[in-house]
Symmetry: C2
Subunit: 292 residues, 2 copies
């Protein structure tokens, strides 16, 4: 069993990006600039945005954080988005989700100029990904593909089971894994809450990508000997021994599943760090005008 070290790969890629940025700036090009809009004080969102700001520093990017209280109106947010759309110094920006209930996330996503949509959530980027055209890939699916590539995991013709059909992980990662591309070219099955024989399907999988948000869902008896397991789950569970009072748990019963696998991602330190790195890669692509 080999542990997929997402943290190490993420650090390596951030160094690669920092090198590229140094080169760009030595050539007199402008510094890549990512902006983030954060609404309210959700604990998870605060942490993610802080990590993103720190990753910008590591990559040599400029970053701007725009904060709003939870009572900001939809039209105020859209006004800010329009300013960022037309601000030529901003290469890309994100609006950290989730948003308060009185704001339509979809409206916000579609207000972002798709050419600056480094989260890859705008319908144009989603559609281009599905068709197989250059686009900003959404961060978590792109991070998973990058891990498979860096560990030289053979995906061609593999039976790949995706657990979950969310718009930000399950559907796009299924789409990427079925493309005629390496990594990709896998036979993909998408399972979800209505799936009847999920144990049986998983036990035939060469690769399982678990993105249900259900701690410990994938158990030993569901996993074939030698399978590759990618665990996208990051649920906060109470843990009195931690200063924070919680720890992150994945969708996989790691201790019992790991011995059966050829490769497995830990939680934390697997997919998580890759997600932020994908955002950095998209920001670099935006600054280089590599896609649009």
């Amino acid at each position: 069993m080999e542990l997929i070290d997402g943290k190490y790969i993420a650090d390596t890629i951030k160094q690669e990006i920092a090198e590229t940025v140094k080169q760009m700036m030595a050539e007199g090009k402008k510094q890549p600039h990512l902006a983030a809009i954060l609404v309210g004080h959700d604990g998870g969102s605060e942490t993610y945005v802080a990590h993103k700001v720190k990753a910008c520093e590591q990559c040599g990017f400029k970053s701007t954080l725009i904060r709003y209280e939870a009572d900001v109106t939809e039209s105020e947010l859209i006004e800010t988005i329009e300013k960022l759309n037309s601000d030529t110094d901003i290469d890309g920006f994100i609006v950290q989700l989730p948003l308060p209930k009185h704001i339509s996330e979809q409206k916000i996503i579609e207000a972002i100029d798709y050419r600056k949509d480094v989260d890859g959530f705008h319908p144009i980027n989603v559609g281009r990904m599905s068709i197989g055209l250059p686009c900003y890939l959404s961060a978590t699916p792109a991070g998973i593909i990058e891990l498979l590539a860096r560990y030289n995991i053979n995906t061609k013709g593999a039976n790949c089971v995706v657990l979950g059909r969310s718009n930000i992980v399950g559907k796009p990662v299924a789409s990427l894994m079925m493309q005629k591309h390496n990594p990709g070219d896998a036979t993909v099955t998408v399972c979800h809450s209505a799936t009847k024989n999920i144990k049986e399907i998983c036990s035939q999988a060469d690769i399982i990508i678990a993105a249900l948000g259900s701690p410990g869902f994938v158990t030993e008896d569901m996993v074939k000997e030698g399978a590759v397991i990618i665990d996208v789950g990051t649920t906060r569970v109470p843990d009195a021994t931690r200063k924070s009072g919680f720890r992150l748990r994945g969708d996989v019963d790691f201790d019992n599943v790991a011995p059966k696998c050829s490769f497995i991602t830990p939680v934390p330190g697997g997919v998580g760090p890759m997600t932020i790195v994908s955002l950095m890669k998209n920001t670099l692509l935006a600054a280089q005008h590599a896609i649009y």
Copy 2:
């Protein structure tokens, strides 16, 4: 075994549309208007476009056919598309594919205003479909979903195998079949040229949607007793007994597979007629400004 009569369902829907159009015009609204651009003289394309023009008549739509010889330039085509984009009398239009090799199909597709893209091929419509937002669904996948709905076929939790991963059938029908929606909510597996154990996967399927363009590919031994078979294949095979010199063959070995099925679509007369009807439905939606 029940035959899924696509022709009958298609005729029924065309009548429904014609009724709606009559009503709209009685209310003083404008007649829905579909335009089609046909380049060259490909036999299949000529037939499809002729069928589309006829379907417009049956639905009470106005139709306009714009023809170009195969040596038309890309920029001439785009100029025409831009005229159609801004022509307020045209509710929707299509460019019949395939196009001659010197023209980029993707460039042409993206030149069409997504609000008039009644073929549903523009990345915005593809992305919105994937996310589950209102959009113009591409015609063949939408026709398949409509057939499943009209025959009350239970898809929730069903194991649905899609053969083929094309951008116009395989990928979008897989996307629709996995949505939390009825029909839909199925456990979807997408198989393609790199799939290793395709027979085994098919033999576990409750629903098979075959869109490979490989005549007779799905044989009796690949099909479970009671399965539902949707055959999207329409390959022209030589047939000296026909005036045309050819007949259409599906991806399914119909004679031997049909007795094992609960439902099956014939070729021709199954999915084919539904594809054109989906285009008519999108044109009606465009005239009603129901989506954009």
